[in-house]
Every structure is written in C-alpha cells, then in structure tokens.
C-alpha cells in the first residue's frame, strides 16, 4: 500500500499547473496499470474523526498538522517491499514536498 501525504507546495500552483500536475498522476496510474502493478486507488475526504481511549473520546480530524493528513492511497501489486518502494519514487508529488509511506499488507 502506498499512502500519500504532504505535498504542501501544490497550493502555490496555478490552475494550469494543477491540471498539468494531475496529468502526471494520471500518466503514472496508466503506467502502473500497464505493468500490472496498479490494483486500486482512492482519495480520502479531509477531516474525519478520531476516537480515542477507554472513554471513546471523539475529536475532529485525525491530526492537527495538516501536512500529516493522509490524502489518499494506492494498492499496488509488487514482488517485494523494495519493488513497491521503487514504484513510490515515481510519485509526482515528491517535488512538491510530498511524502509516500510504503507498507506491506500482511498475507497469512
């Protein structure tokens, strides 16, 4: 699983640049589909709730720091964590200060 967050620099892009940037994501997805790596991808609605502790205290939003909020994820098929990490290096958000967390889904 590739978990995406950060990319705070995107706020400074012009509409034209944003469209171009989105084009890079789409091209990336197309490429991952063509190599049979891509399984699924979703965006997460910002905000949400956090439920915590014995008393099930509910607070707004997962985190206070916006830059730590997960924006979305991909599920990719890869032979190893290393291959998945290689895939993550192509993420178009990296130049915009983006972060990709690469995690392996445990199979029993």
């Amino acid at each position: 699983m590739l978990i995406f967050f950060g990319a705070s620099d995107a706020a400074n892009l012009s509409p034209e640049e944003m469209q171009n940037h989105m084009g890079k994501w789409f091209a990336w997805i197309d490429k991952l589909k063509s190599t049979n790596n891509y399984v699924a991808g979703e965006a997460l609605t910002p905000g949400g709730k956090t439920v915590k502790g014995k008393k099930a205290v509910v607070t707004d939003g997962p985190f206070a720091e916006t830059k730590e909020v997960v924006g979305g994820f991909f599920i990719v098929k890869a032979k190893s964590l290393e291959e998945a990490t290689q895939i993550a290096k192509d993420c178009p958000d990296l130049p915009l200060n983006g972060i990709v967390e690469v995690r392996e889904v445990m199979k029993f």
Binding site: A11, S14, P15, M18, G23, F26, A43
Partner: protein, 418 residues
C-alpha cells in the same frame, strides 16, 4: 464516478477558473473579488488533491463551482459574523443555478472583460488584470508572458483593483453610445493581446500560443454575444484566424524565423484559414469598415496564394492604400513599401520609407525600420547602406531569432556591385 479519461481538455482548469471568477463575482459582487479569487484557487487545490488518485466526478465543472460557492458562502458568513454579527447573506447567494446557463456564463465573463479593460486604466494594468481574472493565469504566468517580474505584475494588479474599488465600477456591460466606444477599446486590447503572443520572439513558444489562444477565445465570446457582436469584432477575429493559421510555419526547428516567402504553405492550417474566411464574410455585414477589415483582407490575400510567387501584389498595394487612409501609421507605410519592392519598385519603396515622418527617431528605437531599409538596399545591391542598416537593426533587436535572421541577411549581401 467514471474512470478518468486519458486526457482532460487542454486548459480546462484555466478556463474554468475564468468562468468561476466571473460567475461568483456576479453573485457576490465586485467588492468581493479578492475573496472570489481565493476560493476559486482553493477549489482547484481541492480538486487536485482528490482527483489525482484516478477518479473524476461526473461533472468536473459543476463540482468545482459548487465547492467554490460553498467556500465563498462560508467565508462571507464568517466575516459578516465578525463584523456585524449573525445575519443573512444576499438572497441570490443561496441559489446559483440561474447563472449556470451557457449564455449567462458568457455574459458574466464579458462583464469581467469590460471591467478589466476600462479606458481609464493603463494598458499594462488592463493586460495584467484580464489575464488574471478573465483568463485564469497566475501572477507568475503573467510575468513570464509579459516578460516582467512577479512584483511588477502584483503592483499592476493592485493598481487595477484599487481603481475598481475606488471608482465603484459597476459589474455590467455598458449600453448605448458608451458601448460602442468601450467596444473599440476592447477590440484594441484584444488585438494587442494577440500581437503580444504572435510577435514577441522573446517568450517561449507555449506561452505565446496561450496568449494568442486567449485573444481568439475572448474575441469569439465577444462576437457571439447578443449586444457586443459587431462587424468589426468579426473582422478582428478573422484576422487572428489568418495569422494563427501560419503559426507553425513561422519558426524552424532551430527556432529561427522563417520569412513569409520561405514558409512551407502546406503547414498552414487550412481549417483556420477557412474559419477566417467564414468570419470575414460575417464581418461584411452593415456599412462599417474598420482597419481590422482591411488587415484581415490583406492576411486573407496571403493565405489565398498557393506560392509566394503567386501573391497578388497589385491587390495588396490597393489594400495598403486603403489601410493608409484609415490608419496612417508608420508601420503601415513600412509594410506598404515592402509590397512596392515585391512589385519591382525598389527605389520607390526606399523613397517612401525615407519620407516617413520622424523616421530618424523611429530608426533609433525600432529595429524593423532599419531592417527593412537594409533589405531594400540589399535588393539594389547597395552593399554599404545595406550593411549599415542591417547592422543597426542587429543592435536594436533583443530577439535571438531576429538577430539570426539579420545576420544571415548581412552574410548574403551581394558584394558584386557597389
């Protein structure tokens, strides 16, 4: 949610930005222009953050508009609570559906154009404002397109917006006699915007295309509007089409300028030429004849010739004579002289250039005059004068493409006769 299409329409975001700014400004008022610009920008950011994972909403435009509208209402509620306590928003803010009709969108955008191209604003301020609030360019993109710095553009935008605020400019299309006068200003502006993209050899190719494309898009919107449509607008639009048809053939792969006589006419866009003729016909309505009509007829004449050698110079000369009556400018005289030279009347061409009023100061400031004179003397094999004028032109132009062209001319001066 459908799978994302492989490609979105070119400039979709940029064009949507212009539309959204116009519609929201119409709803919330010109006094909230800054807020509107902000929420539009935020909506695109939200779109990017959620669409990039591969799924688009069914109707991206409506999605964007809805997000922007909600954000605007939220912001206004917040500020109005801070200032005057809880209260109602303007009635129309709750329902924007009536503004979504294509006609209404076009209408809102034209109102934006008339506001931005206010005759009391400086041309450079108009230019910056139109590109920002009508065309959806960012400050950085405007600076790049107009070859200046971001702070300069910020300053121009600030000046223009202050003017709108202080003069309490109304969000409307002028009526009656004022409309005619204002239309003239708008036409001049669009012509300038197009030339900015077409002639400036200093900016990169992509941005130049964008500027020309914007000028054509806005001009088309103008001619399609029930009140703003005019024969002159059609003439201007046809002129742009004829020029744009030659866009691809004007530079070679090394970015050097290809002169009209050497352009590969196969590369000219026959589609754009045909559209140009269509609009030129539409412009023949009524008894109004503007210099755009004549300039378009001149451009059409060039497009009509299959080869450079088949150009009807006689007809072009007549058109330039007509143009000279409507617009007796030094540039027109200069171009007319080139036609004379093509007809074999080189000495006459030189004499007519030399008789241009205030030529000496023009020669000092604009490379075109010395470039043409150098070329004419070259045709007469007057090596000394040709070289002197061409070198002067070389020193004046800042465009590398033009420098290369002039250098090539100097290199090929015929040294036989003197």
């Amino acid at each position: 949610m459908p799978e994302h299409p492989v490609q979105m329409v070119d400039h979709l975001f940029r064009h949507e930005a212009g539309k959204m700014i116009a519609i929201l400004t119409r709803i919330f008022g010109l006094s909230h222009l800054e807020l509107v610009e902000d929420v539009v920008q935020e909506s695109f950011l939200k779109a990017l953050q959620t669409w990039k994972y591969g799924q688009l909403p069914d109707n991206p435009s409506a999605w964007l508009m809805q997000v922007a509208r909600r954000k605007a209402i939220d912001r206004l509620r917040k500020t109005s609570r801070e200032i005057v306590g809880p209260g109602e928003l303007p009635e129309q803010a709750s329902d924007t559906n009536e503004f979504y009709h294509t006609d209404e969108i076009a209408d809102s955008q034209l109102r934006m154009i008339f506001i931005s191209i206010h005759p009391d604003l400086k041309e450079e301020d108009q230019l910056a404002l139109v590109l920002k609030i009508v065309s959806g360019f960012s400050v950085q993109e405007i600076a790049k397109a107009l070859l200046t710095t971001e702070p300069t553009i910020q300053k121009r935008l600030y000046r223009a917006k202050e003017f709108i605020r202080k003069e309490k400019i109304r969000f409307e299309i002028p009526a009656g006699i004022e409309l005619r006068q204002r239309l003239d200003v708008v036409h001049t502006f669009l012509y300038l915007l197009f030339n900015e993209g077409y002639n400036s050899g200093k900016v990169d190719e992509l941005i130049r295309r964008d500027l020309c494309g914007e000028a054509m898009r806005l001009c088309k919107a103008l001619t399609e509007h029930r009140i703003c449509s005019s024969p002159t607008g059609y003439a201007l639009l046809s002129l742009m089409c004829f020029h744009a048809a030659r866009f691809d053939s004007r530079l070679d792969e090394k970015n050097d300028i290809v002169l009209l006589q050497h352009q590969d006419r196969q590369q000219w866009s026959q589609d754009l030429i045909n559209i140009g003729y269509h609009y030129l016909n539409r412009s023949a309505d009524g008894n109004e004849i503007s210099f755009y009509h004549i300039e378009s007829a001149i451009a059409a004449e060039h497009c009509l010739a299959k080869r450079f050698s088949e150009t009807n110079w006689q007809r072009l000369l007549q058109l330039y004579d007509l143009l000279l009556e409507l617009k007796p400018s030094p540039t027109v005289r200069l171009n007319r002289a080139v036609v004379l030279a093509e007809m074999g009347e080189v000495q006459k061409a030189i004499d007519s250039v030399l008789s241009i009023e205030k030529l000496s100061s023009l020669l000092k400031d604009h490379y075109m005059y010395s470039a043409v004179l150098g070329d004419l003397y070259k045709r007469l094999s007057d090596q000394v004068r040709a070289q002197a004028y061409l070198e002067q032109a070389f020193g004046l132009t800042t465009s590398q493409a033009e420098k290369n062209l002039i250098q090539e001319k100097i290199r090929t001066i015929d040294p036989q006769k003197n």
